[in-house]
Amino acid sequence: MSGNPYQDDRGNRDLSITNPKGIGEIDGTRKSGAARPAPGGPFLIGEAMTGGYGRGADILHGCTIAVEKGQIAVIVGPNGAGKSTAMKAVFGMLDLRAGHVRLDGEDITALTPQARVAKGMAFVPQTNNIFTSLTVQENLEMGAFLRDDDFRGTMEQVFELFPILRDKRRQPAGELSGGQRQQVAVGRALMTRPKVLMLDEPTAGVSPIVMDELFDRIIEVARTGISILMVEQNARQALEIADKGYVLVQGGNAFAGTGKELLADAEVRRSFLGG
């Protein structure tokens, strides 16, 4: 409950009049602002971002996250540090009070999330990241919603990347196991043919074998020239494949460096990587 009087349902759970399933948090009625040219700098950067949810307190305090083309950047940090929030901020899902987001030479701070999708960003949220009632194939089609061209090629690629999805393409995605769901989620994001792929804890709830598999796939995706920005709890593995790592603590950058550097840093290891 955020104190917004319009969101006060007084604990009503009456399913005969309200349908709570699938309600979102992003305001879809907003009109998008314009992107302004801002040449130079990294391929994608959320720079000195400060802001929080609604009228609540700030959660991010001057947080900066960047990723270069075709590289993998990983954000780690304790629970509640604001990792997911930072991702959402980069994606325009919350209002920044200060800071900018720039993508490929443009300042996109004013853009709505929808507009950012059109600009080539894709996002896989931490939870609720598939359409459970749609079939796997429809999930992928939804990923390609903005594309007018023939996306069958891309779908083929996704099926090659995640062969299990091909077998299950007519099955409602809600019936899949956690790991398979995660694959659908990533596949859906890839269908947009993004320039940047943002993943929030893609390996959460995924068995270790699938996790390794996912990491391999992520590296493969990066090799095709797509930049990857992800949050990971399995920090160790993630940092091993990361070109760049960020440690967030309480909404601010605590450490930054290449994955190897962070892994080697004793302080980081002790405080955040469990040893």
Partner: protein, 336 residues
């Protein structure tokens, strides 16, 4: 021969009326269920939306009739349906702009929207009466019957008659077409799929580049169309009166919920269940049994399970039973 009479009597008084009434309810319930599935609240203003759409169609029908336009044996009002839909669409879109959109931006909880829809219901209620008045409006023309009971009797020589009204046939045909179109639209077209996606997960739909406002707009348009079609068919079959349309809300809600809110198939099934239970459970079987059974066994009494006083109770009792044993309605599983 007697068995034939029994079948004809049953068809004439139970099957055909219930199918037609069921189709009308189903069309209404589809509108309610779509809003529930996609906009996530039960729209108390739906009955009055139907009234407004029908009223628009009626006004246009009158104008057409005054021009001497006619469809021959079919009611002229069919020509006016697009105008009615346009009227209803204008109304709901205006309402969405002025009322609902604000709450969407606020990410208001659905129950708030339910209350808002109560306010809208009051307003629609007043607006329709202000424009067309509270009275009965008869706008049906053309042939009333495909086959009337008398004709049927003369034709077949049976004792019992069988009547099929043009409007009944139209209702069923239209309902089938509309439902087929809707299913095709939801399951096959890009926009339709995007609506299902939005219904499933708003945020993810937005992250896939689906414009939520467009989904909402299309939903309202479909709802306006469904409401108007349902309202006009109903009005042609029976009669138009604003108060009656408000009262329709109850069986429509019952239908949508019995079937499983948010599920189009459920809405249709629910419509028929309510219609059949209203007509069937209070049916007096005397006539049918008289035909079907030998003279000696023919019943004295009416053989009526429940008097018609309680026909509305029937649909709610069924509703409660369904909810007790299948809390999500008959068809959950797949929603919109």
């Amino acid at each position: 021969m007697d068995l034939l009479n029994a079948i004809v009597a049953l068809s004439n008084f139970v099957l055909i009326p219930a199918i037609a009434y069921g189709s009308q309810l189903a069309l209404g319930a589809l509108g309610v269920t779509l809003i529930y599935g996609i906009l996530r609240f039960s729209n108390f203003a739906h009955g009055d939306t139907m009234a407004f759409g029908t009223m628009s169609a009626i006004l246009f029908t009158w104008w057409l009739q005054s021009l001497g336009v006619s469809l021959g044996p079919l009611p002229t009002a069919l020509l006016a349906i697009p105008a009615g839909i346009a009227g209803a669409a204008a109304l709901v879109l205006l309402t969405d702009r002025g009322v609902y959109r604000f709450y969407r931006a606020q990410k208001a909880k659905p129950v708030i929207l339910v209350i808002v829809s109560m306010g809208v219901m009051f307003i629609y209620n007043g607006v329709v009466r202000l424009i067309v008045g509270p009275g009965d409006q008869n706008f049906a023309d053309g042939e009333r019957f495909l086959i009337s009971a008398r004709t049927f009797r003369d034709l077949t020589g049976l004792e019992e008659g069988l009547a099929i009204r043009t409007t009944q046939a139209l209702t069923v045909v239209t309902a089938v077409i509309v439902v087929a179109l809707l299913f095709w639209f939801l399951n096959r077209t890009r926009t339709g799929k995007s609506m299902r996606a939005y219904s499933d997960n708003e945020d993810l739909a937005l992250l896939s580049g689906i414009n939520p406002e467009r989904v909402v707009l299309v939903t309202w348009l479909i709802v306006a169309a469904l409401a108007t079609v349902a309202g006009v068919l109903y009005g042609l079959d029976k009669t138009f009166k604003p108060f009656t349309y408000f009262q329709l809300l109850l069986p429509i809600f019952a239908s949508a919920i019995v079937g499983g809110l948010g599920n189009p198939i459920g809405a249709i099934a629910g419509g028929f269940i309510v219609a059949f239970s209203e007509v069937g459970i209070t049916y007096a079987w005397k006539k049918v049994l008289n035909h079907a059974l030998p003279e000696s066994l023919a019943p004295d009494g009416l053989v009526q399970l429940l008097s018609t006083d309680y026909k509305f109770a029937v649909s709610f009792v069924i509703l409660v039973i369904v909810l007790l044993f299948r809390p999500t309605g008959l068809f959950r599983g797949k929603s919109v």
